[in-house]
C-alpha cells in the first residue's frame, strides 16, 4: 500500500504526466477557444492527425523543428477556416461538419504521407525536440526534474494556457469572444461582428489542435503513423466540459488525466501480478467521468454553443 503512495512522489511519474498532458493541453485549449465563441469543433481528431503528419513531414523534408510546428499550425488553421466556412458562414450542423473534417483530414494525412514517403519497413524518423532544462530552476528538488526538464513544446503549452486565461478574461477581445458564445445577437448590437469573431476563434483553435498533434511526432515520438492520435482529440472534447470552459481548469484537467495515465502504467508494472491490467487502463477514463459528474453540475455552458448565427434572424 505504501508503494502505491510512494509512486506519487517519484519524478518519473510527474515528468511522464507532463509529457502525456502536453498534446492534450494544446488541443483542449483549441477546442475550448472554439466553444467559447459558440462553435463545437469535432474536426479535432482529424486536425491533430494532420498536424502530426504535416509537422513531421516538414521536418523530414529538411525544415527545422520550429518550422515544422508552424507549418502544422498553419495547416490546422486552414482546416479551421474550412470548418468555419461550413459551420459559421453557412450555419450548417456543427456536429456533421466537424465529423466530416475529422474523416477528411485523417484520410488526407494518410494520402499525403503515402505520396511523400516511399513504402518501407518502418516509417522514417526525424531528430525530435530534446528536453531543455531551464537553467537554475531545473536544479530544484522534485519540481526541477519534472516541470523544468521538459521539451520546449511543453513549456509553450503551459504558457499558452495562462495566456489564454488572461486573454479570455482580461482583454476586450476575450470579452468579445465570450459574448459571441453567449449571445451573438447582443454582440452584434454592440457593434461587433459575431461571424468574424467565430471564424477567428475556430481558425486559431484549430491551429492549436494541430500543434498538439505535432507534439506527438516531433517530441513524444519521431515518426508518423496514420492512426497514432488514438482518440486523444475526443478526450480533449470531454476535457473542455470537465474544465467548465475555463483555460486554467483545462490545464489542470489535462494534467490530471495524464497523471492517471502515467500512474496506471506504473501500477501495471509494479502491481500487475495482483490486479488485471484492464482495470488500470480504465482508470484515467473512469476517474475523468467521476470528476466530470461532480464538477459539471456547476458548469456554465456557453449559451449559444452549437447554435448557428444568422444575421437578422430572431434570436
Amino acid at each position: 500500500m505504501t508503494d502505491l503512495i510512494d509512486i506519487l512522489f517519484t519524478t518519473g511519474l510527474w515528468s511522464s504526466a507532463l509529457r502525456i498532458a502536453t498534446p492534450l493541453i494544446f488541443a483542449t485549449l483549441g477546442a475550448l477557444l472554439c466553444e467559447r465563441a459558440g462553435v463545437l469543433n469535432l474536426g479535432i481528431e482529424g486536425i491533430m492527425t494532420f498536424g502530426a503528419m504535416i509537422g513531421w513531414l516538414a521536418v523530414f523534408m529538411g525544415a527545422d523543428l520550429w518550422t515544422g510546428v508552424i507549418v502544422a499550425a498553419l495547416c490546422g488553421a486552414a482546416f479551421g477556416l474550412l470548418h468555419s466556412g461550413l459551420a459559421v458562414v453557412l450555419g450548417l450542423s456543427q456536429h456533421v461538419a466537424g465529423l466530416g473534417i475529422t474523416l477528411f483530414a485523417s484520410s488526407l494525412s494518410y494520402y499525403i504521407f503515402r505520396l511523400a514517403v516511399p513504402v518501407q519497413g518502418t516509417p522514417p524518423t526525424v531528430e525530435p525536440f530534446q528536453p531543455w532544462p531551464v537553467p537554475f530552476l531545473s536544479d530544484l528538488p522534485l519540481i526541477g526534474p519534472t516541470l523544468f526538464s521538459q521539451t520546449p513544446l511543453t513549456y509553450l503549452a503551459l504558457v499558452l494556457a495562462l495566456a489564454m486565461a488572461y486573454i479570455l478574461n482580461r482583454t476586450p477581445i476575450g470579452l468579445a469572444i465570450r459574448i459571441t458564445g453567449e449571445n451573438p445577437h447582443a454582440a452584434e448590437a454592440q457593434g461587433l461582428n459575431p461571424i468574424a469573431i467565430r471564424i477567428g476563434a475556430v481558425v486559431t483553435g484549430s491551429a492549436l489542435m494541430a500543434m498538439g498533434g505535432a507534439y506527438l511526432t516531433l517530441a513524444a515520438f519521431n515518426s508518423f503513423f496514420p492512426t497514432m492520435v488514438q482518440g486523444r482529440g475526443w478526450v480533449c472534447i470531454a476535457l473542455v466540459v470537465f474544465a467548465m470552459w475555463r483555460p486554467g481548469r483545462a490545464l489542470l484537467g489535462a494534467i490530471l488525466f495524464a497523471l492517471f495515465d502515467a500512474y496506471q502504467l506504473r501500477l501495471q508494472t509494479n502491481f500487475g501480478k495482483a490486479v488485471p491490467y484492464q482495470l488500470f487502463l480504465m482508470l484515467p477514463y473512469v476517474l475523468s467521468i467521476v470528476a466530470l459528474v461532480v464538477m459539471s453540475r456547476k458548469a456554465k455552458v456557453p449559451r449559444a454553443l452549437m447554435k448557428p448565427y444568422r444575421r437578422g434572424e430572431r434570436g
Binding site: 518519473g12 494518410y110 513504402v119 519521431n222 503513423f225 497514432m228 488514438q230 508494472t269 491490467y277
Partner: protein, 329 residues
C-alpha cells in the same frame, strides 16, 4: 495504278481468329505458373506486422512465383468489399487479416470457392478455401531472452505489449522462458498499452518499467526501444529488424518470416489441395518462419555459445520452446 491485295477475306478471318486465340490463351498459360495474389492490409504496409506479409509477397513476385497486388489502410467496415472485389477479379489467393472481421470474411470466402484465403486469424480455418495462420515468433523471443539474461545488472526484465491476446502472450512468455533458463531468479515486469498503434504510449510504458528498475526491455510494440535509447539501456525488437533504427539499443530481434506460409499456400493451390487449413506450424523455426537476428558485438561472448546450441536444437527438433498462451503477469 492499283495494288491488288492478295489477302482474301476468308484468309484474313482465319489468321485473325488464330492470332486472337493465341493472345487470349496466353494469360491462361502464364496463369498456371504464376499465382495471382492480393494482399489486403488493414494498416499501412509500414506497420510492423503487415510489412512482413508485404515483404514476403514482394519477394515472391520478384522471384516470379506470384503476381502481387495489394490494398492498404482498408478499414474493418470496408474490408468485406475489398475482399469481394479481388475475388471477383479472379485473384487466386487473398492474403490478409481476419481479426476484426472473422465472421464476415468467412461468409464471403464461402461465396468464392475458387479463391483461396490465407488470413491472419484467432479462429479456426473453415471450408476448403479459408486457411488461417497465427504469428508465432516465440522461438526467436526465447533465444533473445537467453542472450538478454546475462546482460542485465538489476535482474529485472521489462516487456511492453499491445493487448494480452494469445499471440502476444506467448511471445512475451517465450522471451521470459529464455531468460529464466539462464537466470532462474530473474524478475519480470509487464506493461500493456491497450492499443496496437500508439508509439508515444509504448515509450511511456517503457520508461515506467525503467523507473521500476528494468534494464532490459522486450518491445513487442514500436516505441519501447525509444524509452531504452533515451535511458541508455538495451532492448529487443520483435517481428522486424529494428537494429538499423536503434543501432546502440537493439541487440537482438525475434524475427518473423511470412515466406514459408506463403510458399505453403501457393504450393497447395498449384497442386490443387484444399487451402482451408491452419498454416501456423510454418511459423516454426525449423520451417524458417521465425529466428533470432542479433548483433554479436553487443552481446557477451559467453552467452552466444549456449544460445546457438539451443538454436540448433530447436531447428533439429530436439528442443521445444514452451507455448504458453496465458496472460503474463
Amino acid at each position: 495504278m492499283t495494288i491488288k491485295t492478295k489477302l482474301h477475306r476468308r484468309t484474313f478471318l482465319k489468321t485473325g481468329a488464330a492470332t486472337a486465340s493465341v493472345i487470349l490463351a496466353a494469360p491462361a498459360a502464364i496463369g498456371q505458373t504464376k499465382i495471382k495474389v492480393a494482399g489486403i492490409h488493414s494498416s499501412p504496409v509500414e506497420n510492423a506486422w503487415n510489412s512482413r506479409l508485404h515483404a514476403a509477397m514482394l519477394k515472391a513476385a520478384d522471384d516470379g512465383t506470384i503476381e502481387y497486388v495489394f490494398s492498404e489502410g482498408v478499414s474493418g467496415t470496408d474490408y468485406g468489399r475489398a475482399v469481394r472485389e479481388y475475388a471477383e477479379q479472379d485473384v487466386q489467393l487473398i492474403v490478409g487479416e481476419a481479426y476484426a472481421v472473422e465472421r464476415e470474411v468467412r461468409e464471403i470466402a464461402a461465396d468464392y470457392a475458387d479463391t483461396a484465403f490465407l488470413m491472419g486469424s484467432s479462429g479456426e480455418p473453415s471450408g476448403d478455401n479459408f486457411g488461417t495462420f497465427g504469428t508465432w515468433n516465440h522461438e526467436g523471443a526465447y533465444l533473445s531472452g537467453m542472450l538478454a539474461a546475462s546482460m542485465s545488472e538489476t535482474g529485472k526484465f521489462g516487456a511492453v505489449g499491445a493487448i494480452p491476446i494469445p499471440e502476444v502472450n506467448m511471445l512475451i512468455n517465450g522471451f521470459r522462458a529464455g531468460v529464466d533458463v539462464v537466470r532462474p531468479d530473474a524478475e519480470h515486469l509487464i506493461g500493456f498499452i491497450g492499443t496496437f498503434f500508439d508509439p508515444p504510449k509504448a515509450r511511456e510504458a517503457g520508461l515506467a518499467q525503467i523507473d521500476a528498475g528494468a534494464d532490459i526491455l522486450f518491445g513487442e510494440r514500436i516505441g519501447t526501444a525509444d524509452a531504452a535509447a533515451e535511458r541508455g539501456i538495451k532492448a529487443i525488437g520483435s517481428l522486424i529488424d529494428y537494429t538499423e533504427r536503434y543501432p546502440d539499443t537493439i541487440f537482438a530481434n525475434a524475427m518473423w518470416y511470412f515466406d514459408p506460409l506463403l510458399a505453403a499456400a501457393v504450393s497447395d493451390i498449384t497442386s490443387g489441395s484444399p487451402t482451408g487449413r491452419n498454416y501456423t506450424p510454418y511459423c516454426l523455426m525449423k520451417e524458417g518462419g521465425n529466428d533470432i537476428l542479433y548483433t554479436a558485438s553487443m552481446v557477451p561472448e559467453a552467452a552466444i555459445g549456449p544460445m546457438e546450441e539451443a538454436r540448433a536444437a530447436i531447428k533439429a527438433g530436439t528442443l521445444e520452446v514452451p507455448i504458453d498462451f496465458s496472460e503474463p503477469t
